[in-house]
């Protein structure tokens, strides 16, 4: 376990230390366990690095590049299909969008859809799970059946029905909300199961007998233990949200004025970029989507390991 970092930080502090050294030590004590854990959980770290790299690309892009070029006809009119060049690093498409600007603008938009979907799906699912587990009986039965039905019906189809009934198409935020209306079933199911197991356990029982209020039990006793499951559900919901939204966009039901990754895919299909040989048009959004999904998948399997140590042995 001897590492360069570890050997730099003395375990026994020298007698005279400057304030900065003390501060360093303080931070090191915080960071060290994280690094130690990370070494035992490579999927989690690798996933975070993938997504972090993507965000870094977006962040730097916003700082150094004119992202307004994502709009149609940003490239010189008349001659719009540029392959990648110094002027247009990712080239331009048939409508004259600068595809580098599209990638920088579109990636966070797509992530935003996923985050909105994940946040509302997990919040709604968790609340429902607690209500179901608290009231039991008919309420629980209803939630369980709804979740079971929700798992049977493909989310994409419900989304299509919602999307075609909204005038003018869905905006990015509406899209996230729409996905959340179908994505709450998984969190609701997994967290309900955990709550049911937990409420039978002795520490919750003791807390109840010692007169803690329901809210206190939920937030002091149960929530801390649910965090791995809630985090995992969130990551899964974000991925499911992005997957459903890209599908919806590929079918032509997305926000036409936003350069999301899914809409870029849609324009590719619509304009037959493949037959035009414009590989620079479809490749960046696909690579970005692959990075997002692989990253999210690695994070969620890393979290699985965290909540299920049995997997640790051989991953």
């Amino acid at each position: 376990m001897d590492t360069p970092q570890a050997s730099q930080s003395p375990t026994s502090p020298p007698p005279s230390r400057s304030k900065t050294d003390e501060l360093k030590q303080l931070y090191w004590d915080r960071i060290n366990p994280i690094i130690r854990y990370a070494r035992r959980n490579p999927p989690l770290i690798f996933g975070v690095l993938l997504l972090g790299g993507l965000m870094l690309f977006v962040g730097i892009g916003y700082l150094v590049y004119d992202t307004e070029q994502y709009r149609v006809l940003s490239a010189d009119p008349g001659d719009t299909r540029h392959p990648p060049s110094l002027q247009y690093p990712f080239g331009t498409d048939t409508a004259g969008r600068d595809l580098f600007a599209v990638a920088i603008r579109g990636t966070p938009l797509t992530l935003r859809i996923g985050l909105i979907a994940g946040f509302f799906a997990v919040s709604f699912g968790t609340v429902l799970a607690f209500i179901a587990a608290y009231y039991r009986g008919l309420v629980d039965g209803t939630v369980r059946v709804m979740a079971d039905v929700g798992m049977t019906v493909p989310p994409l189809l419900i989304l299509i029905l919602i999307a075609i009934n909204i005038e003018g198409g869905l905006s990015v935020d509406q899209m996230g909300l729409a996905v959340a209306t179908v994505a709450w079933v998984w969190p609701a199911r997994t967290i309900r199961a955990q709550v049911l197991i937990m409420r039978e356990q002795s520490y919750v029982e003791i807390s109840r007998l010692s007169g803690s209020s329901g809210m206190a039990i939920i937030f002091k006793e149960m929530m801390p233990n649910l965090i791995p499951y809630i985090t995992a559900s969130f990551v899964t919901s974000v991925a499911a949200g992005i997957l459903a939204s890209i599908g919806l966009e590929a079918l032509g039901l997305g926000p036409f004025d936003s350069p999301t990754l899914g809409m870029t895919i849609f324009w590719n299909i619509q304009q037959s970029s493949i037959i035009l040989g414009m590989w620079w048009w479809w490749l960046p959004p696909i690579v970005a989507i692959v990075i997002v999904f692989v990253g999210l998948f690695l994070i969620s399997s890393g979290l699985d390991e965290w909540s299920n140590p049995r997997l640790r042995q051989r991953v």
Partner: protein, 360 residues
Amino acid sequence: MTPDGVRSESVVSRLKHATFTELLFVVFHSFLLRRFLFFLLVIWIAATVIFIIPRLSGQDPVKEKLLLEAQRGGAIQTGFEQMAEAYQKRLGLDQPILTQYKNYMFDLVRFDLGTSIAFYPRSVNSMIADSILWTIGLLGTVIVLGFLIGTLAGALLGWPRSPGYLQFLFMPLLTLSAVPQYLLGLILIYVLAFKFSWFPLFGAYNPGTLPSWDFAYIWDVIQHAILPALAFILGAIGFWAVGMRGMMINNQGEDFMIQAEAKGLKGARIFMRYAVRNAMLPQVTGLALSYGTLLSGAILIERIFMYPGIGDTLFQAIRLSDFFVIRGVVMTVILSVATATFLVDVLYPLLDPRINYGRR
């Protein structure tokens, strides 16, 4: 020494001695009946949601889009008046909402999905009937192939005695499982159809050929099916392999796995009859659960390849705002998902003796 006694009798012997009321009780509480009721419940709730969603928006988007199309002089030119009338009658928007709901459900029970707006007066049923065989033919094959190959790959990956170099397959498989299959399709079209021209770019058969049962036509159909099938299977292999690998690793710690080794069984037997046999169970449940997702993926693959299946029908309907066709396709897909789930539920006890038809 007292024998411990057999704890549970078999269901058959229990039924033999049951009175009629007891028999009724058993049937009512039986696994099969409960699964069937759930099957009906899924369809009912889904149908109700489909009924409610358009009415929640507060507008009449169908009619508006219809008029828009008519103004643009799009697909609908002839018989617009008739169609608008039929459309009014169909939705019966002037009637009380409960009557509308009743009519809608009655139509559904008769599996009458209504009439297309864009291709009036074609019935939605006939449009779906025309396209669904393509979907079933392609999807049926790829779901089975993807599941089998993926599960086997995952089983080998999660088996400690597999050669070490197999582990290098894990990252590619994981990546494949994370990529939406229709995006794989795009890449495949570019590389194998556009760059190398090994396969046709899109469609299910050459536009010039007439469907017939001769060899040339079948060969043509197969050639067209390979790329979409490959896109689907590659993604599915990754998905099933990742899940199966996890289950295999989980199973390694089970007492019965250690005992199988302590019994000195041959490696192949432990692999097949102990490890794979048990790790398969959640895979089969997963097949039922993800059938809907797989079907959604297939719809998008058909869109990419312009494959004339139900997904393409759906896409064309979305493009033309053909509300009843969209609704019909969605209903058909939900029906097929519910049926598949029901079938897996019914067949599952054959795989897992712990699930008993009589109990639960």
